[in-house]
Amino acid sequence: MALKDPALASLNLSEFDVPGRGHGLLDVFRWRFLLKLLVRKETATRYRNSALGWIWSYVRPAAQFLIFYIVLGKFIGMERGVENFALYLFSGIIVINLFNEGFSNSTKTLVDNAHLVRKIYLPRELFPVAAVIVSFVHFMPQVGVLLVVCLFFGWLPSLSMVGAILLGLITVLAFTLGLGMFFGSLNVPFRDAQNFVELILLFATWVSPVLYSWKMVADVLPQWLVDIYLVNPLTTTVQLFHYGFWAPVSTDPHPFPDGFWNYAVIGLVISLLVLFIGQLVFRKLEPKFAQDL
């Protein structure tokens, strides 16, 4: 960085900051108090002035679960192919719900907070990160319900199950944040992004073995497509959740594909790559956020 004014040549530049230039996601840690307040603002104001309040967070997933369970489990007969189908369904659906809510919110968050972005400088990464954390907060009670049901079925956690669940969580959160930052920053100049994201979300439920078993995919697709299907971070996360919650109470002798952990690790690597690319694109577009909003 060279200054044009010769009078400033002797200046020690290390003492100066360039306004508006942040450190990406690292800034989020430095501003964690604000992050906490932003998350609290979202969770506290979401159900203001509604009589049922937080119950709405359960009504939607419960209704969705009921529809899928009755139609797929009873009518189509999935229940006969997959043991404890209700548990199988529920442990997958909560992952997809987390992804859907986090992805959709983080895509819109910059536009929703335009009044702040345009007027005050703060690390803009805070917004997508807060959006993903808010969806995680809504996800926790669903895990609670799942745990209670699992215990009822005689579920006892082991180290590998807890490991699988944590690995799945890291995968899906990194994936969600990465995609959210990518499409969220594109959404600033082009609002088309949020419509495109809705389209992606429509597919999300179906490109992972939530409503059916991975074996059905393996039966009809060629091997290379099955591989792609199995390393997709949503599939690996759903499978890891099945591994942690459903498989222990199932007697299926071959519930998962061979090389299950390899797929899981590749899924994680893809997620981290997506996060990296998302941050890169976000940084590239960030200088123009304030004027494009």
Binding site: K4, V18, L34, L37, R191, A290
Partner: protein, 254 residues
């Protein structure tokens, strides 16, 4: 000792070096429109130069007024200093914490209480939790809203709202203060209190950059005036001369 050396004897708090800012005015608002305009070979955007090659430095503890008619680029300059916008070319450097009395209350949420909003906004302005704890009582006292502290801000009168927003902004710990059109807030006693607060800051040797059309206030607060017109720096000197220049024929010409 040459003139340059004296100027740099105290380290500047703010350096503006050959800064330019252009805005692209987009004529399309979606991918579809962009594509259609592109196929029809229509112009996709036009450029507008808001600031052109601005250079000056502000020594620590100095208070500078940026003056000019509407649309001259004053607010853009302030936004560049705060980091909301970034220059297209040139370098802008700041030393120490920058805070702005710009759009106070931007971060307020109507559904949160006064107390929650104080914390949220102070954090948005870059304060840490323990720092807010320290000045919390001062903020509330300055705004004179003690009894409404735990009510939702949407029930506040506009005067109360602005007083609280202003009070939060003015209690942020800072080294450089950016001010855009102040003291239009509140009634006469509150304005007097704000003026006192500014004088306190001047005495504490805070660096200030003030944008205002209020010549009397500017004359009182600032020792130096910078006049810009249509994005170009036209005058830089003592405040009285700057005000005289702004009101002279020379400014109106070309």
């Amino acid at each position: 000792m040459s003139a340059d050396d004296t100027a740099l004897k105290s380290m500047p708090a703010l350096v503006v070096d050959a800064v330019s800012k252009r805005f692209h005015l987009k004529h399309t608002h979606s991918l579809k429109e962009t594509f259609i305009a592109w196929t029809k070979r229509k112009q996709l955007r036009s450029d507008f130069t808001a600031l052109e090659d601005i250079t000056f430095t502000v020594p620590e503890g100095q208070s500078v007024a940026v003056m000019g008619y509407n649309g001259s680029g004053k607010s853009t300059l302030l936004k560049l200093m705060s980091g909301v916008l970034r220059p297209d070319s040139g370098t802008l450097l700041t030393r120490g914490r920058v805070a702005g009395l710009i759009e106070v209350g931007a971060g307020f949420h109507p559904d949160l209480t006064g107390r929650e909003n104080v914390y949220l906004n102070a954090a948005i302005l870059g304060m840490k939790e323990h720092e807010i704890d320290q000045v919390f009582d001062d903020i509330v006292q300055f705004a004179e809203i003690e009894e409404f502290l735990d009510q939702e801000v949407k029930h506040y009168s506009s005067g109360m709202f602005m007083r609280l927003a202003f009070s939060v902004a003015i209690h942020v710990r800072l080294d450089i203060l950016l001010v855009d059109e102040i003291l239009s807030v509140g009634d006469a006693p509150f304005r007097e209190k704000c003026r006192m607060k500014f004088e306190e800051m001047l005495e504490a040797e805070k660096t200030m950059v003030v944008v205002s059309h209020d010549m009397e206030m500017v004359r009182e607060l600032c020792s130096r005036g910078i006049v810009i017109k249509k994005g170009k720096l036209r005058f830089d000197g003592a405040i009285d001369e700057a005000i005289a220049y702004l009101q002279s024929e020379a400014y109106l010409k070309d």
